[in-house]
């Protein structure tokens, strides 16, 4: 194999992988122990980061938010997943579509919607409450810990839904029948057999949701800051206000990184435990449980939650995006296309940000996919020794919160030898790194679906490895890779938590601009920008349906 000329290509790609994943992490770790001025080894950064009560309090707040969100998501997601997958509840496709819609809303757009709905005084819910009761002010205030937890939960519960549903789909009815024949009623069977079998998946989702919540930047910044409390991510962001204190931020981010790595490991162990056969075997025949009149109650519950997460927020965003002034309500003389035109054409900053968003996302997706595919191929074909290690490196960004990755990129690429800060490349590469695991799992799956003998057949007939790749492997991968592209492109268009640390004037993307403009209070403009993201996402999702099938976004691998 040493004579293989393609070896040079593989080595270059491995070098790129190290540049994207290992170097930022190494520099982050290094920076946390580095004196800002002298560059000497020091523990002062940790003292500075955790010596202030304010910062410790932010960490505690993050944990409270994370745990609360995980609990609320369980209450939201598990019954919905059960109803959709195991019962005769009506209108399942409507519920399914609403969950998909929730997935499509960026969390910060959801936060904007909830500000419109539950802002003190002017929020729609408060105005409706006042109108109904005659009270002078409504009771709802999104600018609170409760508000933050609710908003984050609304956009995280789909994880719980997807994990639980995948587990439930694998439990065969025979397991439930076994309990029924022993005299257990429907309720007892569900509580004693069905749900416990799904428990590892639910616990796994609980951890994923917790981690998602503590790593989030958008919603906390939009809600917690006006409510005058801090979480870890907002604290990190403030450390980057001029002059940026990278070293302190790096030190402050370390526990976040460690917690995430540990919990993902724990989640992996829980899911990987083979004790529950139901989760590993192929599900047998499944029959739906008849709920009788209760099925309407279940539907009501599902619609209530998706109203909070999707129907109402989408309605107020649409209204604001097309309104002259959102407060004037739903009437024809309030409708205008001015906001959208302004965002897309008139204003230079938004026009450029829109263009940047899609160009960067496309570039990042291509880079991530090309790299992931090459790495997956190297590992699958054992082209280099210790290939397994490359898998772990490619999957590592999965357990790095976006905000931590961004600080790593900042630490690695603002100083010589490689200065990327200030260019579009640092954003593109950070996005590519952040979503590399999605690209990797999908590339790997696509490659695995191709029998290596197809490639061997081309080689034994006289074709070189590269010819076999071009004539046989590439054509067969097309469809799978188109799907993977979409799965990377969608989150890359809306990424905020890493972009917020890495953009400079001229390299803003929509998410950053939307966040920047949020303190101006021009909600019509914010909604328009959000709507553009949503519209493009919807188009990509529909394309994905055609290419891969209805389930592709809500699969476990997609999360």
């Amino acid at each position: 194999m040493a004579s293989d000329r393609s070896l040079v290509v593989w080595l270059l790609l491995i070098a790129l992988l190290l540049l994207l994943v290992i170097n930022p992490l190494a520099r982050l770790l290094w920076a946390s122990f580095e004196h800002p001025d002298t560059g000497a080894f020091t523990l002062e950064n940790y003292a500075a980061a955790y010596g202030r009560w304010r910062n410790v309090e932010a960490l505690i707040n993050s944990m409270i938010v994370g745990l609360s969100v995980a609990v609320v998501c369980t209450i939201f997601g598990v019954p919905m997943a059960w109803a959709v997958s195991r019962t005769d509840m009506p209108a399942k496709s409507l519920v399914w579509a609403a969950v998909l819609g929730t997935f499509i809303m960026p969390n910060y757009l959801g936060a904007v919607a909830w500000i419109l709905m539950a802002g003190p005084n002017a929020g729609w819910l408060n105005r409706i409450y006042s109108a109904l009761t005659g009270a002078s002010a409504g009771p709802f205030n999104v600018y609170s810990m409760t508000g933050l937890v609710l908003v984050i939960s609304c956009y995280s519960f789909p994880y719980m839904f997807v994990f639980t549903r995948s587990a439930l789909e694998l439990i065969s009815s025979e397991m439930e029948d076994a309990a029924s024949t022993l005299g257990a009623g429907a309720l007892r069977t569900t509580l004693r057999v069905t749900l416990p079998l799904a428990l590892p998946a639910i616990m796994g989702a609980f951890i994923v949701v917790f981690l998602e919540a503590i790593a989030l930047f958008g919603s906390p910044a939009l809600i917690a800051l006006p409510a005058r409390f801090q979480v870890m991510t907002t604290t990190l962001w403030q450390m980057f206000e001029f002059p940026p204190r990278v070293q302190v931020a790096a030190a402050y981010a370390m526990p976040l990184l460690l917690i995430t790595v540990f919990l993902f490991w724990l989640q992996y162990r829980i899911i990987a435990r083979k004790g529950f056969v139901a989760l590993t075997g192929k599900g047998g025949e499944r029959r739906l449980m008849h709920l009788g009149p209760w099925r309407w109650v279940m539907l009501g519950y599902c619609l209530l939650i998706t109203s909070l997460s999707f129907f109402m927020p989408m309605a107020v965003i649409l209204q604001a995006a097309f309104a002259r002034a959102w407060g004037r309500g739903f009437s024809w003389d309030n409708v205008t296309l001015r906001n959208l035109r302004f965002v897309l054409f008139d204003q230079t900053a938004t026009r450029m940000a829109t263009l940047n968003t899609f160009v960067y996302a496309a570039a990042a997706s291509l880079i991530a996919l090309g790299l992931a595919l090459a790495i997956a191929y190297i590992v699958a074909r054992r082209l280099v020794p210790f290939g397994r290690v490359l898998t772990y490196v490619a999957m590592a960004p999965f357990v790095i919160p976006g905000i931590v990755l961004a600080i790593g990129f900042y630490a690695a690429y603002t100083a010589k030898p490689l200065v990327l800060y200030g260019t579009a490349w640092i954003l593109i590469l950070a996005f590519a790194t952040r979503f590399l695991p999605i690209a990797y799992t999908n590339s790997d799956a696509a490659l695995r679906s191709i029998n290596p003998e197809l490639e061997d057949a081309a080689r034994i007939l006289g074709g070189s490895r590269l010819l076999a790749l071009r004539r046989v492997v590439a054509p067969l991968l097309q469809r799978g890779l188109a799907g993977a592209f979409i799965l990377v492109f969608i989150p890359a268009t809306r990424e905020l938590s890493s972009a917020i640390f890495l953009y400079t004037t001229g390299t803003q993307v929509l998410s950053v601009l939307l966040f920047d403009k949020s303190d101006e209070g021009n909600f019509e403009l914010l909604s328009s920008m959000g709507l553009i993201l949503v519209a493009v996402t919807v188009a990509m999702v529909l394309l994905g349906f055609r290419l891969i099938g209805r389930d592709f976004l809500l699969r476990r691998t997609a999360t």
Partner: protein
Amino acid sequence: MSRLVLTDVSRRFGAVTAVDRFSLILTPGEFVSLLGPSGCGKTTTLRMIAGFLAPSEGTIAMDGRVVSSPGSSLPPEKRNMSMIFQSYAIWPNMTVAENVAFGLEVRRRPKAEIRERVGRILEVVQMGHLASRYPQELSGGQQQRVALARAIVVQPAVLLLDEPLSNLDANLREEMRYEIRRLHDEFHITTVYVTHDQAEAMVASDRIAVMNQGRVEQVDAPRALYARPRTRFVAGFIGRTNLLDGESRGDDVVFDGFTIPRRAFPEPAAIEGRVGFSLRPQSIVLHRQPPPSTRAAVVPGRLVQRAYLGEHWDYTVRPAGTRLALRVTTRPHEVFEVDEKVWLELDPSQMAALQPE
């Protein structure tokens, strides 16, 4: 001159030795099967011949030129070989004709020649009418024929087949055995055929190399392999057999319950000390009365078990005064009852002496 020479080829994966000092010589046009249970190293050997794996030790030479050695291995695409894979490996993104044409395109043959040769070979494998189909539209047997056509059309120096029939149903498998032999008789391509199915190997091969735990047990023509297995493993793996333990004492070979004069065996000189023998069930003759004296040993016994299998009877007989259980097959009309007293006629010329372990 030999086409393919494997000299002491070994292959290790970590601590596991998959192939252990394998040697084999193929003359041009010969059809040799590698036969053995799964995990015996036969596919690993084939992949080393193809160039997908390098040997850990030993060399592989083709037409006098070393193509594989531990340090350097000529890549598969430079070997002018063809291979048929277990999965057929028909490319789903190309039509039947495009699949078959691939090897010729890589060899940069003129377009007209490619068209002509592809058309002819597809006729040979009876697939001419399906040339423009995609593989998904073909049955397993048809895909197999495409794989054969694609491999043969380039006129390779060596054709390799890796369990090509294992994914077919029983009837089709039987048909394809003969098809593979027919194509070999037509094109005389030097062939190495890997299989775990002895019937497949017997039908198609000039010689069979029986492998076990990475080593060659015996290489012989199918008939010789069956009649004169040289090791316990070969005797048991090819067909069913009775294994008898004997000991050479003076002029006799003594078994449990009976004795046979040493000179009655075909190669008396080879029998020394403790020796195992293989005796096929159909080489034993059953009698109701003691048969007239012959060179054969006659042993009284009792019939302990029987099964009627349509094409033959399957009896188990215990020679008197022993704990042996000999299997005997007879034609369907030779009926004996359980517990009946019988006489076994054991012909020493049918008894193959096995090498000591």
